[in-house]
């Protein structure tokens, strides 16, 4: 029963959060300079007036706000894009979100597996050469701009073998595009580097903490093997904080995939929102922001619920 009330409370608040996000985004887009129709070549005043009237942008801002909120929350309709005529925002999200999501999941899964592995090894051999080396990799992963890896991989792995070593481009790793499992490789690996860096550090830090706790020391003293020690005792406790951030990490990776999506020509949401911001395409900005915001909120909700189930102390105090 306690669990149920906990979940209910969190859901109500999640909805309130999304609503606040929608309101803030609405007003922020309207404050930002530029409107959807301005282009390098100025449009005659009458045509501009006609356009604004056609899309309902000439009404008072609160009226626009009311109309849009109603449309979004009661009909789940984000309207149409101002830049690309006739294209529904809902369709854009429907088509492109799964692409970003799949890439994101791949990158996070890959990054987590590698990261945890590296982190465990680094923790076990603390302060050794392996540890330092792993930390160096983390630094590089965080230090160098993400898009550089994308360029590097694209150039050295996809292009050079074809142009310098006569690899057949049809069977080799593709440089750009989307659609087959091969297209996941380069962008997925580039994106996973950031994840690896974060997870490695976290895992190592958590593992090191756990190594010094009493029950682990006891188990060690009793002669438990290292492998069993790591997996059964240490990992279980180290994993919890990592689970907490996996959700936000996924969303963060998806949002940060902006430039990577551009470089590899991947039809995902990152590209969409960048374009929308540049073009002041209000409806697209609203749609994608609210959708991704809702996604993030839901993921955090799910994580919190999970946390609440695992650690009873949390839900009682909530």
């Amino acid at each position: 029963m306690v669990l149920f009330r906990y979940i209910m409370r969190r859901m109500v608040l999640a909805i309130a959060t999304i609503f606040t996000l929608a309101t803030l985004t609405f007003f922020l887009t309207r404050i930002a300079p530029g409107d959807p129709f301005t282009k390098t070549k100025e449009i005659p005043a009458e045509t501009m007036a006609n356009l604004r009237a056609k899309y309902g942008l000439d009404q008072h801002i609160m009226v626009q706000y009311g109309i849009q909120m109603k449309q979004i929350f009661f009909h789940f309709d984000f309207g149409t894009s101002f830049r690309t005529i006739g294209r529904d925002v809902n369709t854009i999200i429907e088509e492109q979100f799964p692409v970003s999501a799949k890439l994101g999941v791949f990158a996070v899964a890959l990054g987590t597996i590698i990261g945890m592995g590296l982190g465990i090894i680094a923790a076990l051999y603390r302060n050794s050469v392996i540890d330092r080396f792993a930390m160096l990799l983390c630094v590089l992963g965080l230090a160098l701009p993400g898009f550089l890896f994308s360029y590097l991989f694209q150039y050295f792995i996809a292009v050079v073998p074809v142009t310098q070593f006569n690899m057949n481009p049809d069977t080799w790793v593709p440089a750009v595009g989307w659609g087959t499992w091969k297209h996941y490789l380069l962008p997925g690996i580039s994106l996973s580097l950031g994840v690896v860096a974060t997870i490695t550090r976290m895992t190592r830090s958590q593992m090191v903490d756990v190594q010094f706790s009493d029950y682990v020391k006891t188990a060690k003293a009793k002669g438990v093997s290292t492998a069993r020690l790591v997996v059964v005792h240490e990992l279980r406790n180290a994993i919890l904080p990592i689970l907490t951030i996996l959700g936000p990490l996924l969303v963060g990776t998806m949002m940060g995939a902006l430039i990577t999506e551009n470089i590899f020509g991947i039809p995902g949401l990152g590209r969409v929102i960048l374009n929308a911001v540049v073009n002041s395409d209000y409806n697209v900005i609203m749609g994608v922001t609210i959708f991704e915001g809702a996604f993030l909120v839901l993921i955090i909700l799910a994580t919190d619920i999970l946390y609440g189930i695992i650690d009873p102390r949390i839900r009682v105090s909530a």
């Binding site: 608040l13 930002a32 230090a143 936000p248 911001v277 955090i300 909530a318």
Partner: protein, 482 residues
């Protein structure tokens, strides 16, 4: 062997006072930490390394060459020396400031009414040569104009002298080279190429003639080309040369400056820009995480300790902040605040503290359940005392790990924000701006990026290791390990 005396063998009387006396000197928490830190060789090394870099950043610019006219050296654009590799100073020809490419020359008394040549008779123009010195400002080509052609086309290839395939360039210049344009006046006999010349490369030019027959609309090109190749003379403008040698004159040869990291796409000294950038990035790295930490600590602790509705609302606020479109807000903020260091700090702090707050709240929730905190609350301690005296010391380990992981993050964020346009006002130099500009040229000039990137990566590594060393020394839980 020390001499033994009888007193040494007398039994020592146990004294309660003596037994209770603490024989080690009393050290505060931080004095203890300082001692332990100094024992950590890696940490000390990193600290020293970073201090050296900081000093270079502070003192270095004082040694920059004077450019006069309140132009800072690291911003001085030099179009004679763009995208050059690191060098210790080349010999340069002094040229006039007001040079501009000469106009194309037209042969007087050219017979424009001559009949068009038949396709088999279309040959490349002869006597193809360089009209004057070939410098990075321009290469002026000259040839013998042909009667009966519609015009000429000039091609160019560039590279290392040995790698230029002049034979295939001669037979099919269009398929291996870049066209510099068609010359549609058959009487023209000179052409100056100034486009993107790189003084460290060797250039080859090819010229072909072509005839367009008006009735059929077909065009025939000469089957082969006339070819020549040349290296370029490196130059320096006289106004700049005067800074190196006061009595320099046009036509002299002087020794140029050394460029330890080479030059960027506008000819600026990358090493100097990195040195100036140190000031910006290091101050940001220290200030921003500290502000974020303070904000996050207060917020997270209050949220965690209060629990209940307050906690819930506070966490929701953080969620909302995290899900706001970062990009959009950055653009708006830029309008409100403009560019500059202050707006950069505000932008980074505005979104940086939520991470701290979350983590701290998590730990606070855990620590709250610990007995001594319960005890203090029962005894009626105010929230502030709880935060600063009970919770904070226990959080230090976690805080330091997170804080030290933010230091490098700030430097990277600065690079990202510079890319978005929210950064320092151009043409100021910061590491992010230098790296961004160099990354654009990465495929054609990798060294330009790699050297500054290595510096940045090394500094970041140093920050990381320093952070680890600090964690090892300051975290009370970790005491007694090693």
């Amino acid at each position: 062997m020390k001499s033994l005396t009888p007193e040494m063998f007398e039994p020592k009387l146990a004294s309660l006072d003596e037994a209770e006396k603490i024989s080690r000197p009393i050290l505060t928490y931080f004095q203890d930490a300082a001692v332990r830190f100094l024992r950590n060789k890696v940490g000390v090394f990193c600290l020293g390394f970073l201090t050296v870099i900081t000093l270079v950043g502070i003192v270095g610019p004082l040694f920059f060459p004077q450019m006069g006219e309140d132009m800072a050296y690291e911003n001085a654009i030099n179009t004679d020396f763009q995208n050059q590799r690191p060098s210790l100073g080349d010999y340069l020809l002094v040229t006039d400031d007001s040079w501009s490419p000469p106009d194309a020359l037209i042969k007087p008394n050219f017979n424009t009414a001559a009949g068009l040549l038949a396709p088999e008779k279309v040959f490349a123009p002869q006597n193809f040569k360089i009209a004057s010195a070939a410098t990075v400002n321009g290469v002026t080509l000259q040839w013998e104009p042909l009667e009966g052609v519609t015009g000429y086309e000039i091609f160019r290839i560039a590279g290392k002298k040995e790698s230029l395939d002049l034979e295939s360039f001669r037979t099919s210049p269009g398929s291996v080279g870049m066209t510099l344009g068609k010359i549609e006046d058959p009487a023209q006999y000179t052409f100056t190429d100034s486009s993107g010349l790189d003084p460290s490369e060797h250039y080859a030019y090819a010229i072909v003639s072509y005839v367009t027959y008006p009735d059929s609309g077909e065009t025939t090109f000469s089957t082969t080309a006339s070819v020549l190749n040349t290296a370029l003379v490196k130059t320096i403008k006289i106004s700049d040369a005067k800074h190196l040698k006061a009595n320099a004159e046009t036509g002299d040869t002087i020794r140029g400056r050394a460029f330890l990291f080479g030059t960027d796409s506008l000819g600026r000294d990358i090493f100097a820009r990195m040195v100036m950038g140190t000031r910006v990035n290091f101050s940001l790295a220290l200030i921003v995480p500290s502000i974020c930490l303070l904000l996050g600590l207060i917020y997270g602790a209050i949220s965690g300790l209060s629990g209940g509705k307050v906690d819930l609302i506070m966490m929701r606020v953080i969620e909302v902040l995290d899900t706001l479109p970062y990009l959009l807000l950055m653009i708006i903020m830029q309008l409100v605040m403009g560019k500059g260091v202050l707006s950069l700090i505000i932008a980074m702090c505005a979104f940086g503290w939520t991470g701290f707050a979350r983590v701290i709240r998590g730990e606070v929730l855990r620590l709250r359940e610990i007995e001594f905190v319960h005890a203090s609350r029962l005894l009626g301690a105010p929230l502030s005392r709880l935060i600063f005296k009970q919770i904070a010391p226990n959080l230090i380990g976690l805080i330091l790990v997170v804080w030290s992981s933010r230091l490098p993050g700030v430097i990277v964020s600065e690079a990202f924000l510079s890319l978005l346009g929210l950064g320092l006002e151009a043409p100021a130099a910061s590491w992010g701006m230098v790296l961004n500009e160099a990354a654009q040229q990465f495929q054609s000039h990798p060294v330009q990026f790699l050297l500054p990137a290595s510096v940045m990566a090394t500094a970041l590594l140093a920050f990381f290791l320093l952070g680890d060393a600090l964690t090892d020394t300051l975290d009370p839980k970790l005491r007694g390990r090693d």
